[in-house]
Amino acid sequence: MVDATLAAIAQPAQTDPEAALRARRQPLARRRYALEIRQHMGWRRQALILAAALLAGLAISAAILVAAGVPANELANEFVMQTFFDGQNLRAVLFQAAPMILVGLAGSLAFRARFWNLGLEGQMIWGAIGATAVSMWQIGPEPLRLPLMFAAAIGCGLLWVLGPAWLKIRLGVNEIISTLMLNYMAANFLLHLVYGSWKDPKDNFPYSPQFRAFERLPELGAGVSSAIALAAVVALFAWWLVGLSRAGLYLRFVDANPRVAHANGVPVRRTIYGAVLLSGAMAGLAGFAVASGQEGRLTQAFYQGYGFSGILIAFLARNNPLAATVVALLVAALFVTGRSLQVFYQVPFSMVQLIQAIIVVCVAASDFFIRHRLRRVGAEAAQ
């Protein structure tokens, strides 16, 4: 390391065109490359690299789909035309986007506090259970029912993440494992309910009785559910919280360096608790959005795939709430396309998961080119 620095001082730069030409004429095997950390890259080039990574991910996914038996021209038609330019499908995307936005925001908020909340699915399940419990036990008068379900979903999601948050902050228990274990436990508890005492007595299928009309999230008009409006409000709140509020400032301190933050008088623990609990509350709301906005009842597998999508959205959006909203819309489009592919070409729904993973891999790999650059080391420098 020292030698390299000294060499750089002794030979300030490779500005000599002669030397550069000589380096280029070297046989390939003898060329040497050095990897450098890039200090800064303009946002235009960053965006370009990000777009290239996204395109590469989509191209790989398209190749896999074609290999799986979907005709290539149908694929373009299905994803681009049908999903974005067809009124009915656009509504389906918005319909699907509400829980996506909520889990994406939940993920990005927790990750901002350096808390790997992989328990989004468990918190979602508990949110839906809380909302369904209010409906099952008919708590409160009819006009208050929906707000009560909303509050129950928030409360249950928040409580389900309280345990791992406390264990992490007080005892240093790895939150990745604890939140994941709680997912599996919540999923089994859900099965216990829908196969047990909450089973719909009408047709004996493993789901709860249907919600009444006033327990459903209403339509806004033109077939758009108010769930998306709810998600938009939460997104604005998250944007204000992270970008403008004092808590958001604290959160940035904690994210950068918890120790320095503590030394500067930032209430580190309270900030982490706040972010993680809010994350659980938002995931709970996502459960409410699916149960009350989409399914209209508690079903046995409604949560599947949302946990990963939330992590993916937060990662791709770099934990930025507004970016998360946009990415969530795209992931929702992917979900809708995936469902129709499943129906028409028997492509399993896990394909959606595979495509998301490929995109994450491509974007994560592209980060390398934003943070580093390859520089050719000339013949003189190599020796």
């Binding site: 390299a4 799986a68 038996g69 240093g172 494992i177 274990m181 599996y184 399993p348 595979l354």
Partner: protein, 310 residues
């Protein structure tokens, strides 16, 4: 409980314990080299699918298990490139690997129509003369993989504590800067550790599909990979403690069907929660006792970049 129930329980324990033991051992190899391997759940699925595919095609369990190891290693190459050379955050890369494998195995499994096809597994192998013991002899009639697990553990433990290669691998995980200065090629050792560890994780997955259940269902590992990740923390990166932990988990899982067979009525879904609840409990217990915190590899989860000051 009568004596025969206890014997049945203990005799069926190894079958449940082997996947945990092998997966945890694989993770220990990779994490000792400093690579946090969260992808175990996905790699187990890859092993399980490749194993059943080879089994359906050729019908040779030994070949199937080797194929599973190769397949898991091959897939983990993607992860290795991401974390070792592209320096992607190891948590994100591990999670992406899990979901990549979940999607991939479900897709391949349904396209190749390997789902729900029962295959022939491995027969039991009696450990003579112990298997002749009256009563307890049944404990020593296990399949060949159970018996093979012990030498695998012996070999890995010996490798870590008695060979210079093992010392190098641990040095890379403990302090890559110092290892690099001593002339050890950090990236190569990390790559080797990830590939070898993933092969064992794949073997653990193949054990579930080829030896235990003898068929493939999408997502059939059901969180066992995550439990193995927790088990490694519990075992403090020591192979023998991981084996003990795996036996404990095997005991708990083996108890459930025995109780059901004995006619004990338990709420089914709460029973299915127990492995996860026990994992959580074990993690809390480890944190409370705070034993051996210094045993964690020093550079676990950190990418190594030469010439970068941290």
């Amino acid at each position: 409980m009568s004596g025969s129930v206890v014997l049945n329980w203990l005799a069926s324990t190894p079958d449940f314990a082997v996947p945990y033991a092998l997966a945890a051992l694989g993770l220990i190899i990779s994490e000792r080299a400093g690579v946090l391997s969260l992808g175990a759940e996905g790699l187990m699925l890859v092993g399980a699918l490749a194993g059943i595919g080879a089994q359906l095609a050729m019908g040779q369990p030994a070949v199937s298990l080797v194929m599973a190891m190769l397949a898991a290693s091959a897939v983990s190459l993607l992860f290795a490139v991401m974390v070792i050379w592209l320096r992607v955050n190891q948590v994100i890369a591990g999670l992406a690997l899990v979901f990549f494998c979940q999607g991939l195995t479900a897709l391949v499994g349904s396209l190749a129509e390997w789902t729900n096809h029962a295959t022939e597994g491995i027969g039991t192998m009696a450990l003579w003369p112990l298997s002749l013991l009256p009563g307890a002899g049944r404990l020593f009639e296990q399949n060949a993989m159970v018996w093979l697990t012990l030498p695998i553990f012996l070999a890995v433990a010996w490798f870590f504590s008695r060979t210079s290669a093992g010392l190098r691998l641990r040095a890379v995980g403990e302090n890559p800067q110092a290892a690099d200065a001593a002339g050890i090629r950090v990236a190569m050792w990390r790559l080797a550790a990830v590939l070898a560890g993933s092969a064992l994780v794949g073997l653990a997955g193949a054990y579930i599909s080829v030896v235990s259940t003898k068929l493939w269902i999408a997502g059939m590992t059901g969180g066992r990979g995550w439990i193995a990740v927790g088990l490694v923390i519990f075992a403090r990166w020591s192979p023998w403690k991981a084996l003990a932990g795996a036996l404990l988990f095997g005991c708990i899982e083996a108890l459930i069907p025995q109780l059901a067979a004995a006619g004990v009525q338990l709420p089914q879904y709460f029973v299915m929660m127990t492995p996860y609840a026990v994992t959580l409990g074990v993690m809390v217990w480890v944190a409370l006792s705070r034993r051996g915190a210094e045993e964690e590899p020093g550079a676990l989860g950190q990418p190594y970049v030469r010439e970068e000051r941290r």
